[in-house]
């Protein structure tokens, strides 16, 4: 553990997408015009695929090492070095970040390929791929950065790309507003993240070990125990600050509001950024800093509580949505809640496992919905779809597999990972049966809304207008191939993490050097099986309800939506009115403060400034009167007197030189006489 293996190819995993982004960003417009879109596609896809191959190489390198030595690092140069602050630009790969880079470059690569089909008609093709590459770069920095500060670089970088891609079709203000909302809400989270970094740094610095790198923080984490700020333990406070960042990035209550709106972006973006990778950054961060979170039980409780609350909350909202992508968006928020529930009960491995499987099936769902939207000429309202299974066979089958996976059907990836989380929520030291009950309820709702979507879109009569129906077509192979690969992943990815009752998890074993040895739960295998059966049963109930309502049509949805006078339905459908409340309280409040500030400037400070200027001007006006009427009168009087005197005396100047001379002579004589008479 003390001697990480120095390598020099990790940097290329990170930098290749950046190069792609830079070339496409600067020269893209010209290239697209001169050489066509294939050049852009090549420049965009090749770096990500090469990065994926290099990531595989890194993975194999790690495998070749003994588990406790699985650690690669690539130091580039010192980034900041001031006093005790020393941050290098360095990338590292350990088993945890290896999982992440494989997910990011692997699924990212597939989505790049899919995008070449989906975005083919777009005028700004190059701009799309420049940002998609830049996103890949930022995400890789986030997961491989060896210090909190470098992670933060990626953290904000992905936020920027998310902003730019949500508002990609910037001609419509609906999209740009969604982009702004995403960025600003994320900024609130980032604000917490930065404070967490500061607190950790200075608390360690107080002990003489100021650092921001993960390995050193882990090494010195014990020094933080017992330190307090404002009566709260430093570890608790720091992890809470960081968790604020996680709620922003991973769309947890109370900062979840941006993600549903983020669906305004192109669908592959929703798949890559808002389902598979970026939104999981919060979970990754908590897992990365597991040693701090585990030392702060209060924070863990908050994490788990926020996780389960978000999972349930957004599941209820998803029940009632009619936009095909919004259902998926709320489902994503809900699934992220499960991951935080996992992390919050200390089951970091389970959380990361669910992160990975979710990346597969949720990307598959989003890309599938993209294929549907593509076929439906841009229509997103599920009420206008239906009966698409014959027209879109590939999309239908892959979507079906992914729906089965997310609903937790046994033997699919979602089943293994979700049940691992639920089991840990029940049995772990930080868990409780309440978490399990709530989690299972959420799972039931998940099954319901996913099958509701599935039936509405693919079964029954097509409700689209005539024109749209005529143009229905399956997507090109560049789009269906990624779908197929992701569908395979939605099944297969689960098999590397089998639960203990089925023979133990390779995945948990792989992460063991990071999270420490897996604590086998005290509860018996029988109990695990019973719980598993119960959750499958609840999910099946969800499926059955959806089947009755939307396939058979035997049960009218209105019977439920009109419960309690439609109160619940309205609440769910309007997302609990949280957007409206935020708009009034935070946006309105800030704008009010802004106006007050501007008002103070204009009417108070400038009033004083202008007032003092005017007072001065008034005093000088008065002063001027005094000058004109008193001082000037005196001055003029003296001048006039002198003038008059001169006028009289000038008569003496006759101009007669002889006359002057006589006067001079006379004067001299008088002077002589006076001299002789009086001073002799």
């Amino acid at each position: 553990m003390d001697h990480p293996v120095q390598t020099d190819f990790l940097r290329w995993i990170v930098l290749l997408p950046l190069i792609g982004a830079a070339v496409n960003g600067v020269l893209g417009a010209v290239l697209q015009k001169r050489m066509g879109k294939w050049a852009i596609s090549l420049l965009a896809c090749a770096p990500v695929l090469i990065s994926f191959l290099l990531s595989l190489q890194a993975f194999l390198n790690l495998l070749a090492l003994r588990p406790e030595n699985r650690f690669l690092i690539d130091r580039l140069y010192p980034w900041l070095s001031l006093g005790s602050l020393k941050v290098d630009v360095a990338f590292w790969v350990d088993p945890l970040s290896a999982v992440m880079i494989l997910v990011v470059t692997g699924i990212g690569g597939l989505i790049h390929i899919y995008s070449t089909g989906y975005m083919h008609e777009d005028k700004s093709y190059w701009r799309y791929f420049a940002f998609l590459n830049l996103f890949t770069f930022a995400m890789l920095v986030l997961v491989t950065g060896d210090s909190l500060l470098l992670m933060f670089v990626g953290w904000e970088g992905v936020g920027l790309c998310s902003y730019a891609l949500i508002g990609f079709w910037y001609h419509d203000h609906v999209n740009t507003r969604a982009g702004n909302k995403a960025f600003i809400v994320n900024r609130v989270g980032d604000f917490g993240f930065v404070l967490g970094i500061f607190l950790i740094f200075w608390s360690l610095d107080k002990q003489g070990h100021g650092t921001m790198t993960f390995r050193e923080i882990q090494q010195f984490a014990s020094l933080l125990e017992g330190q307090q700020v404002w009566g709260i333990g430093v570890v608790t406070l720091a992890t809470l600050f960081l968790f604020v960042g996680a709620t922003g990035k991973s769309a947890q209550i109370p900062l979840h509001v941006w993600l549903p709106d983020a669906m305004q972006g192109p669908t592959p973006v929703s798949a890559l950024i808002h389902a598979a990778t970026m939104v999981t950054a919060g979970v990754y961060m908590v897992a990365r800093l597991h040693f701090l979170y585990s030392a702060a039980p209060e924070t863990l409780l908050v994490v788990a509580g926020v996780g389960i609350a978000t999972a349930l909350f957004s599941a209820t909202v998803a029940l009632t949505q009619t936009d095909i992508k919004r259902v998926l968006a709320y489902s994503t928020v809900s699934q992220l809640g499960y991951m935080f529930l996992g992390a919050g009960v200390g089951a970091y491995g389970a959380a990361i496992f669910h992160l990975m499987t979710h990346a597969f099936f949720k990307a598959c769902l989003f890309l599938g919905s993209g294929s549907v939207i593509h076929a439906m000429s841009g229509e997103q309202d599920m009420r206008k779809m239906g009966g698409l299974r014959q027209k879109l066979p590939y999309t239908f089958w892959t979507f079906a597999i992914a729906v089965l996976a997310i609903a937790g059907t046994p033997l699919t990836a979602g089943f293994f990972s979700k049940d691992e989380i639920l089991w840990q929520a029940f049995s772990s030291a930080h868990g409780s049966p309440l978490f399990w009950v709530l989690g299972v309820a959420g799972a039931g709702m998940t099954a319901f809304y996913m099958f509701r979507q599935f039936f509405l879109v693919f079964f029954g009569q097509c409700r689209a207008d005539h024109h749209t129906q005529e143009h229905l077509h399956e997507s090109p192979s560049s789009m269906t191939l990624p779908l197929v690969l992701l569908a395979i992943g939605s099944i297969a990815a689960g098999w590397i993490g089998l639960p203990a009752v089925f023979g133990g998890s390779r995945f948990a074993e792989w992460l063991e050097p990071v999270f420490g040895a897996h604590h086998e739960a005290h509860a018996s295998a029988t109990l695990e099986e019973i719980l598993m059966a119960a959750s499958v049963g609840v999910a099946a109930l969800g499926f059955y309800l959806a089947y009755l309502m939307y396939y058979k049509g035997k049960l009218a949805p209105e019977r439920f939506s009109s419960l309690a006078g439609g109160l619940f339905y309205r609440l769910f459908h309007n997302k609990y009115y949280i957007d409206e409340i935020y708009q009034v309280v935070f946006v309105g409040g800030t704008l009010l403060l802004a106006r007050i500030g501007a008002w103070i400037d204009r009417y108070i400070i400038d009033f004083i400034v202008d007032g003092s200027a005017k007072t001065t001007a008034f005093i000088s006006w008065f002063n001027g009167l005094f000058d004109n009427h008193v001082v000037d009168w005196l001055v003029n009087k003296i001048a006039d007197t002198t003038f008059e005197a001169g006028d009289r005396f000038r008569k003496v100047q006759t101009g007669n030189i002889n006359g002057y001379l006589y006067v001079i002579l006379g004067a001299v004589l008088i002077a002589m006489i006076i001299k002789l008479r009086y001073w002799s």
């Binding site: 100047q653 006759t654 007669n656 030189i657 002889n658 001379l661 006589y662 002579l665």
Partner: protein, 102 residues
Amino acid sequence: MAIGLTHYLVLGAILFSLGLYSVLTRRNAIAILMGVELILNGANINYVAFSHFSTGGLDGQIYAIFVIMLAAAEAAIGLAIVLAIFQIFHTIDVGAVETLKE
């Protein structure tokens, strides 16, 4: 009779008086200037005489040379003025030149 200081002083006084008379009575500008020259030379004689008969140094002589130089300058400027007056008034009668009065 040896020639003493008194003789020089008398000569100086005569020259001075003649000059003064000329300056006072003449109306011709050039004549006035000539009178001024006489006055200056009267003073020169006094300088040299006093110098010779008192300390025996050269102070008086030096002053006399200064005065001669000054007289030359004065004559030059004076004549220039006279010339200018003549061009304007077509006369050099100082009595006619009294425009300064009003």
